[in-house]
Amino acid sequence: MIPLLKRILRTGILTEPPPAPQPAAEIERLHDEILAILGRALTIREVDAGSCNGCELEIHALNNPYYNIEGRGIKFVASPRHADMLLVTGPVTKNMENALRIAYDCTPDPKLVVAAGDCACSGGVFGESYASCGRVDNVIAVDLTIPGCPPTPLALMQGILAAVRR
């Protein structure tokens, strides 16, 4: 316990401006803008509709101490009923189509849908086939798309902000 506490003291706060000055300023600006909106308490439900998990890794990075999106009042939640925003990744596979619709119906209004990653935006390399419905917009109405394969955490933060701004 004592070594652990010592280590915590030695480490200090890690949510600092990153080495390159420009992205650092960008993160700060985005944080401030996100703060001013949606009652300062946005909750996100991540829905994997058939993704390869590349996007999930980047979304996961939003929760680390470096990007620390939770420190700005944005939280990932365990149930669509707690959420304000559905963050959907991957081409919508036939198996996940119904699940995605149910998750959308379970989310209380006002709600937003953001499609993250190239597959969710356009169907990506999978397109529409006997196994895939293609892009998320084919199943539920999408408010905003975040392109990228996978989108970087910074792009994701930008996208979340842009969606909330409407």
Partner: protein, 317 residues
């Protein structure tokens, strides 16, 4: 009961409603700092409540009226608990209305309703959470009662107000039994408030959560009430712990100047307690659910030891 006393009681309840989310926010801030992050604002729980009260409610198919009423019952129970625990004064009108055993009963009532509501919708996670909550609850309650009996033996009364008066305003004395009871109480309050060794308030991994699993189906104002009730429960437990083990500075009277003078000390004690809670949570790992009975058994054992120490060693003939 006079009108001044009633006003003082209402003031104490209003203060509890106001301070409870603040305490939760403070614990979250301390946790974030200990994880080398910048912390969310202190008022974050208020922003969350404000947002949730402004959202729609989505009810599950097949949710009965129990599901809709449970948040109000749970919230009411927690407000009542906060009114019984002496925070600002030991001489408030609600104090003689219920003793510590009734207080444990109020917590039990809230637990039963939230567990029933979790099972009401019929989802697997709801029933899983409800059963786990009852498991933790039926192990934690006897230990809590034993802790309370130890303090009740010292003051010869089970009324919270009398216990606090005896401990705070009699001549200074050190009771070894209280040390055992204090450790046991800490164990129990971690388990009861869904804190780290037993449950993780920050987890979203369905198979590890207990409290969160029960409220997965709630949304909008129902969820807001349940989150507020969780904050109130943490506040009530913190205040009960402070009242039993660090009662100094709680005035005996219902005059407003005395009440107002007690607020800064209360806030100071809660801030210290909250940061200690965050430190203990950070240096501990969450236990497997099957270790919880051992953990709560230890708490019960310590509480019984405290009781025995009181009975055998401290009683003067």
């Amino acid at each position: 009961m006079n009108i001044i006393g009633l006003l003082a009681q209402l003031f104490a309840i209003a203060l509890a409603l106001f301070l409870a989310p603040l305490l939760t926010g403070w614990v979250n801030q301390c946790r974030a700092w200990l994880q080398s992050r910048t912390a969310p604002p202190l008022l974050q729980p208020y922003y969350m409540l404000h947002k949730l009260f402004n959202k729609d409610v989505v009810l599950a198919h097949g949710a009965s009226s129990l599901f809709r009423f449970a948040p109000f019952i749970v919230f009411g129970c927690m407000v009542l608990a906060c009114a019984i625990v002496p925070t600002l004064s030991t001489d408030l009108p609600f104090a003689p209305a219920a003793d510590t055993i009734a207080l444990v009963g109020v917590f039990g009532l809230a637990r039963i309703f939230i567990a029933l509501a979790a099972m009401d919708v019929g989802t697997s996670f709801g029933s899983l959470g409800g059963r786990r909550e009852m498991l933790i609850g039926f192990l934690a309650e006897p230990a809590l009662l034993m802790v309370i009996f130890t303090t009740a033996l010292i003051s010869q009364s089970t009324s919270v107000a009398t216990i606090v008066e005896t401990l705070a305003q009699r001549e200074f004395a050190i009771y070894p039994s209280l040390a055992f009871a204090g450790v046991a109480f800490t164990f129990v309050s971690f388990a009861e408030n869904a804190r780290v060794p037993v449950d993780n308030p920050a987890t979203h991994l369905e198979l590890t959560m207990i409290h969160e699993a029960m409220i997965l189906e709630y949304s909008g104002r129902h969820l807001a009430l349940l989150e507020w009730a969780a904050s109130l429960k943490l506040y009530a437990y913190s205040c009960l712990g402070l009242a039993l083990f660090f009662p100094w500075g709680i005035p005996n009277g219902d005059s407003f100047p005395a009440l107002l003078a007690a607020i800064p000390l209360l806030v100071f004690k809660l801030a210290i307690g909250g940061s200690l809670l965050a430190i203990i949570e950070t240096v501990n790992a969450k236990m497997r659910i099957f270790r919880a009975p051992e953990y709560l058994g230890t708490a019960f054992l310590l509480a019984v030891l405290g009781l025995l120490v009181r009975l055998l060693l401290e009683t003067r003939v």
